[in-house]
């Protein structure tokens, strides 16, 4: 297998040994290994080992964009850049790659796709799910490969290349689409679930949901009232009200 292909595959498991101390550092080291082996094939073992050790240091970014850092670091090693500069490059890339990735993927394309799946599922059933999983994984493969190639091409200049790229603009668009899709999906799911409810019970449920939204947005409560906790409280109340056996 070619080193680039092997690195690309390994990038899918970049968080397999995630820790709070090194974050995805070990995974990045694992993904960099095939490329570093190739780069250092004609150099000393000591140089290669130093590069491998650097590649497994602390690193945090969005996992789908970790390839940018892997590529840039390997290219810098290939260009003979000093270890200190490469370590600074990793540190400098962590913030932007995490921030853009979170905006584009966690707050953008994933909720957008899931929202579309929720809208379509009542009509097309499992095909909605097959569709969003396929689209997501094609995008995932493409952006991982794109990031790795960008890093390998740009090396130390990768920060500027990221700023010039389509990522920041598309991240904003993806979040708008996500907001719209989730907005459409919520009433559709609510209707699907609450349709059999008598009017008074459906009204109480909508009222409870509204209370939950307000509580989760109040400055004094927003860190304590999340969706899961509020749902568990409502479940507790419902259990008290289910009544005895008929």
């Amino acid at each position: 297998m070619k080193p680039r292909t092997e690195a690309l595959l390994r990038l899918f498991a970049v968080q397999a040994s995630y820790t709070y101390e090194r974050m995805a550092g070990i995974g990045v080291g694992h993904a960099s290994a095939p490329l570093l082996r190739d780069v250092f094939a004609t150099r000393s073992v000591r140089e290669r080992r130093e590069a491998v050790a650097r590649s497994a240091d602390f690193f945090n970014s969005h996992p789908y964009l970790a390839g940018v850092a892997v590529g840039a670091e390997v290219r810098a090693e290939q260009d003979g850049v000093s270890g200190a500069v490469i370590s600074r490059l990793r540190t400098a890339l962590s913030g932007p790659l995490g921030s853009i990735g979170d905006q584009l993927i966690w707050a953008g394309w994933v909720p957008a796709l899931v929202g579309i799946g929720l809208i379509a599922a009542p009509w097309v059933g499992i095909w909605a799910i097959v569709g969003i999983v396929l689209v997501h994984n094609l995008l995932r493969l493409w952006i991982t490969a794109w990031g790795l190639d960008l890093g390998l091409r740009e090396g130390l200049r990768v920060g500027a290349a990221l700023q010039r790229s389509w990522l920041p603009r598309v991240a904003d668009d993806a979040q708008r689409i996500a907001a719209f899709a989730v907005g459409v999906a919520v009433p559709i799911v609510a209707r699907r679930v609450l349709l059999p409810a008598p009017a008074i019970e459906a009204t109480v449920a909508i009222g409870a949901a509204t209370l939950g939204v307000v509580l989760s947005l109040l400055p004094a409560t927003r860190f304590r009232v999340n969706g899961l906790r509020f749902g568990l409280v409502l479940l507790g109340v419902a259990i008290l009200l289910v009544g005895g056996l008929r």
Binding site: F12, A13, A16, S17, Y18, T19, Y20, E21, R22, M23, I26, H30, A33, R49, V52, A53, A56, W106, V110, P111, V114, L118, I119, A121, P122, G125, I126, I129, I132, V133, H136, R176, A179, G183, V184, A185, V186, P187, I188, V189, A190, R191, V193, L194, P196, V204, I206, A209, V213, L215, S216, L217, N226, G227, F230, G231, L235, V242, G244, R246
Partner: protein
Amino acid sequence: MIVSPLPFALTLLWGTVVGLDLVSVPQGLLSRPLVAATVAGLLLGDMASGLLAGMVLELYALDVLPIGASRYPDFSVAAVAGGVAAALVPDALAVGIAGLVGLPMAALGGWTLQKLRRRNAVSVQRRLERVAHGDGRAIWELQRNGFLRDAVRSFALALLGVGVAILVAVIPWDRFSHARFLSWAVAAGGIAAALGGAIRSAGSGGRRHWLAVGLATGIFAVVMLR
């Protein structure tokens, strides 16, 4: 309700796969409740109930941003358990029982993720010297062990979740006078989670307008569908 061995084994396998998908590999959307619960329902022969459970649990998952070191609930295996529960109870109670099983499982799953990461850190500490000397074999061992640990975590959660789902389904829920309240409670919590999360994540700029337009569109569609 008796679940035959093959679907039981398949749901455990599916639970392990989606648990791994959440963080370790490949993060391919399989761990989203909409996907995980629907497939769980399909494996037990009632995809429609699994889909319904997945739709509601997905509303809760939309409130979660799995960013960096933040601590978040794990809805992946929880949704498999919820999908199994939904498939085993009468249709009218599917959402309520899926939430009853799935929501506590999500909280438990989040806790196990923190434990897993701490255990990974201990493993790194043990090989710190080798990693610092650029030993590729040590890095590979850490990746392999992290993957195996997460597989064990996911399998154990799946075993517990599916087991609880089967036990909960044995309860004659349709004989309780107001068992349907469970479904309304789970739905209300889900709506609050998805909307609260969407408003927070939309910030104060243009994205909030897009959310409002989406909501208006959704409400219009619901009214037209009546």
